[in-house]
C-alpha cells in the first residue's frame, strides 16, 4: 500500500519536474517546483522516512525555494516579456536534454532490479544517533559549508554601504 503510494508520489514529482523545466514564465516554474518538492516529501513519508519528508517540506519547500520568491518578484510578467523568453529558449533545450538522457542510463542500471519499496518508520532519535554518531564528521563539514555561505552573504550585504552608518 505505502510502496504503491510512494511510486505514485514519485511519478507525480517526475511529471511536475518535467512541466517545471518546460514553462516560460519563472513564476510558473516556481509553482511546479513546489509541487515537485511536495510530491517528493509525500514519497519520503510513504517510505517511512518521515523526518526526511517533514524536513523536505520545512527546509526545501518552506525556506530554500521561498528565497526564489524574491527573484520571481523582480521578473517582468507581461505577455511581450514572456514571448521574448519563449523565443530565447528556442533550441537551447537540446543539449541539456541529451545530457539528461545520458545520465538516465546509469540511473536505470541502479533500478534494474525491480523491488517493491518497503516502508519502515525510522524514529527521530535513531536518526539523530546515526547522524551525530558515525556521520558526525559529514554533518560538521556540511555545517562548515553553511557557515561559509553565511559569511559570504554578510560580506555581500555590507558592500556599498555609505560610511558612517553602523
Amino acid at each position: 500500500m505505502s510502496g504503491n503510494f510512494a511510486i505514485w508520489a514519485a511519478s507525480l514529482a517526475f511529471l511536475s519536474a518535467l512541466v517545471a523545466v518546460t514553462r516560460a514564465s519563472v513564476a510558473h516554474v516556481l509553482i511546479w517546483l513546489l509541487a515537485m518538492l511536495l510530491s517528493l516529501a509525500a514519497c519520503f513519508f510513504a517510505l517511512g522516512a518521515s523526518f526526511a519528508g517533514a524536513a523536505q517540506v520545512l527546509i526545501y519547500a518552506g525556506a530554500i525555494l521561498a528565497v526564489f520568491v524574491f527573484v520571481v518578484m523582480t521578473v517582468d510578467a507581461s505577455p511581450p516579456a514572456q514571448e521574448t523568453e519563449r523565443a530565447r529558449l528556442g533550441k537551447a533545450w537540446i543539449a541539456p536534454a541529451l545530457v539528461a538522457v545520458l545520465l538516465l542510463a546509469p540511473l536505470a542500471g541502479l533500478t534494474a532490479d525491480p523491488t517493491t519499496p518497503q516502508g519502515r518508520a525510522v524514529p527521530a532519535t535513531e536518526l539523530g544517533a546515526l547522524l551525530f554518531g558515525p556521520w558526525a564528521l559529514a554533518v560538521e563539514i556540511a555545517s562548515g559549508l553553511l557557515l561559509a555561505a553565511l559569511m559570504g552573504a554578510r560580506h555581500l550585504g555590507r558592500r556599498g554601504r555609505p560610511e558612517g552608518r553602523r
Partner: protein, 319 residues
C-alpha cells in the same frame, strides 16, 4: 479502500467544516471584542448579539463577482488563494484535540505543522506577483522577507520543548506536561513562539504587508469575492493553528480537571485567540526595519541561547 481510511476521510472533512465555522465565528468575535476595546458597538444587527454577521458576510463574499484584473497571470492568480489557505488546513491534521483524537498522529507532527505554516508564503508572494499591481508587489516583498525572518526562530523556539519531551508527536508532548506545563519550564521559548506565531499569521503588529495606510491592502489589493475570502480564511486559520500549537506545546493541551479533554483544549485556544485580539487593539505598527532587525538580531540569538541552555540541562541531567 479500507473502512478505517473511510472513517479518517470523513473525520478530515468534518474537521475542515468545523474549522471554516470556527474561522467565521472568530471574525465576529474579533469585531465585537475590538468594538468593546474601542468603546463602540461592533456588528450587532444580524441575529442575537450580531452573531450571524459572519454568515451574512460569507453569503456576500460568495455571491460577489470575483474579477481578476486585466493583464493578471490567471494561473498563478487563481492558485494563490488556495496556496494561502490549504496548507493551514492540512496543518490542523496533526493537532491532537484529546487523547487519541487527531486525524493523523504523525511521529513528525510538529515539524509537519511548522512546514505547513511555512508554505503560506507562496500564496502571498504568487498572489502579489500575479496581480501585477505595485501595491500588491510591495506587500508581497514585505511579506516574503518578514515570513523568512520570523520562520527562522519559529521552529527553534519550539526545539526546547522537543528536547524535554524527546518526541515530535503532539500527543507525547501533551502527556509530558501532566505534572508541569512547559510554559513554566520554557518561558523564553513560549514568548518567542507567540511572537513568531503572530508574525506567521501576520497579525498586527506584524501586518506591514497589508497595512492599509500605505499599501491599500498589500497582496490582497486586487482580490475580491471568494478568492479574497480564501486569503482571509487562511489568515484566521493561521491564528487558530498558532493558538492550537501554543496550547499543545506550552499550556498542557487537553489536560485539565473536571471538564472533558476537548473542552479544555478549546478553552485554552480561545483564551490565546483573545490575547491576539487584545494585542491588535493595544499595539501600534513598528517601522519595517525595526521589525526585521528584531527578528534577526534579538529573537534568533535568544532562541539559540534558549536551545543551548535547555540542551545543557537535558544532557547534564542524564545519568
Amino acid at each position: 479502500m479500507t473502512f478505517a481510511a473511510l472513517i479518517t476521510l470523513f473525520a478530515a472533512a468534518a474537521l475542515v467544516a468545523a474549522l471554516m465555522v470556527a474561522a467565521g465565528v472568530f471574525t465576529w468575535a474579533e469585531r465585537r471584542i475590538l468594538g468593546f476595546f474601542q468603546e463602540r458597538l461592533g456588528p450587532n444587527r444580524v441575529g442575537p448579539f450580531g452573531f450571524l454577521q459572519w454568515v451574512a458576510d460569507t453569503v456576500k463574499l460568495i455571491t460577489k463577482e470575483d474579477a481578476p484584473p486585466p493583464g493578471a497571470d490567471r494561473f498563478a492568480y487563481r492558485l494563490a488563494p488556495v496556496l494561502a489557505s490549504a496548507p493551514i488546513l492540512a496543518g490542523f491534521g496533526v493537532v491532537a484535540f484529546a487523547p487519541g483524537l487527531s486525524i493523523a498522529a504523525l511521529d513528525m507532527g510538529l515539524i509537519f505543522a511548522l512546514g505547513m505554516l511555512a508554505l503560506t508564503v507562496y500564496g502571498i508572494a504568487l498572489g502579489a506577483w500575479a496581480s501585477r499591481n505595485r501595491y500588491a508587489m510591495l506587500g508581497g516583498l514585505r511579506a516574503g522577507a518578514q515570513l523568512l525572518a520570523y520562520e527562522s526562530f519559529l521552529g527553534l523556539s519550539l526545539m526546547g520543548v522537543v528536547l524535554l519531551t524527546g518526541s515530535f508527536r503532539m500527543g507525547d508532548i501533551v502527556t509530558a506536561q501532566t505534572e508541569l506545563w512547559f510554559v513554566f519550564q520554557q518561558p523564553l521559548g513560549a514568548l518567542l513562539f507567540l511572537i513568531a506565531g503572530t508574525a506567521a499569521a501576520h497579525r498586527l503588529p506584524f501586518d506591514l504587508q497589508e497595512s492599509e495606510q500605505d499599501l491599500v491592502a498589500g497582496f490582497m489589493t486586487e482580490y475580491s469575492g471568494m478568492s479574497f475570502a480564501l486569503f482571509f480564511l487562511g489568515e484566521y486559520l493561521a491564528i487558530l493553528l498558532v493558538a492550537a500549537l501554543a496550547t499543545t506545546l506550552f499550556f498542557g493541551g487537553w489536560l485539565g480537571p473536571w471538564l472533558p479533554a476537548p473542552v479544555w483544549f478549546g478553552l485554552k485556544v480561545g483564551v490565546i485567540c483573545f490575547g491576539f485580539i487584545w494585542l491588535r487593539a493595544a499595539l501600534p505598527r513598528p517601522r519595517y526595519d525595526q521589525l526585521i532587525g528584531f527578528a534577526w538580531k534579538v529573537a534568533l540569538p535568544l532562541a539559540l541561547l534558549n536551545l543551548l541552555i535547555t540542551g545543557a540541562i537535558v544532557v547534564g541531567g542524564q545519568p
